[in-house]
Symmetry: C2
Subunit: 147 residues, 2 copies
Amino acid sequence: MPNNQFKKGELYSFITGKASTAIGRRLQKNFKQAEVEITIEQWSVLYHLWKVDGMSQQQLCDATFRDKPSITRLVDNLEKLKLVKRNASKEDRRKNLIVLTPEGKELEEHCMAIANTTLNEALQGVTNGQVEIAKEVLQMVYDNLAP
Amino acid sequence: MPNNQFKKGELYSFITGKASTAIGRRLQKNFKQAEVEITIEQWSVLYHLWKVDGMSQQQLCDATFRDKPSITRLVDNLEKLKLVKRNASKEDRRKNLIVLTPEGKELEEHCMAIANTTLNEALQGVTNGQVEIAKEVLQMVYDNLAP
DNA sequence: TTTGTTTAGTTGCATAAACAACTATATGCC
DNA sequence: GGCATATAGTTGTTTATGCAACTAAACAAA
């Protein structure tokens, strides 16, 4: 018997990731309730810019696991919301450096608090040990499938 | 110190579910390589119909964690591909019963084999015990956030 | 310098998701 | 029966994804 065989019924839920879907929806709902008018996809870009401002679009692709067109359009929409700005790089004129506007920076504290709250809601009753193993498994899955 | 506190850097990956994204992409790629011309979203609907043919759209919503417009359009596209058909219910004329066509039924074996292969690729090196705990955690997360 | 290749980003197209507003049928209550 | 309400499904709009094709700049080799 193979080591990693799921039963059919379990396979589906695991693959479609209903848990991460549920977290995403809850996070979106919590943003909305707090009148933070951004999508979770936009949030995922801002999240990395809050850590390192001025990343290139390619760096944002790698950080967020998205392809270039997705980042192009997410940055388009974040620019429309006046949360980021595209600055042409002086060293390499192909590159856009994406920098936070003051409005974009301002969101950080509030958004991260909402994200932490959401995660605490999600993980009620789950022990640290279980979370550690779950994270390990997810990381291994990701590494197994990385291109 | 709260029990369930993620470190910032981990929070992001957990919420955005990069592992389940990666599985979805690999499954899509494997379908394409096998010349199965369906999306993973269409697959997720077919998957339930293979178990119970003739479900209503509302039942498909519940089974796939999607809202009604999403299922309306997925069924639209599956009908265009001639994999399913909408049959008006005789007991309740509001309901459409979604039934597989012969072409739709034919796909089952091949698709499920691809899905199982994909899952085995994803879970290489992960022990049964780890998988069990990961599933438990994901289920608890889902239950914590269920509406 | 020119030619070919790689890298960064954009655009077009099809599919899908979330939300709100809508139609039509069913049901419960008086 | 008649009216309010709930349920099943559709449509419109905005946002996002995945893929392919594209432009422009950088780089490397001759």
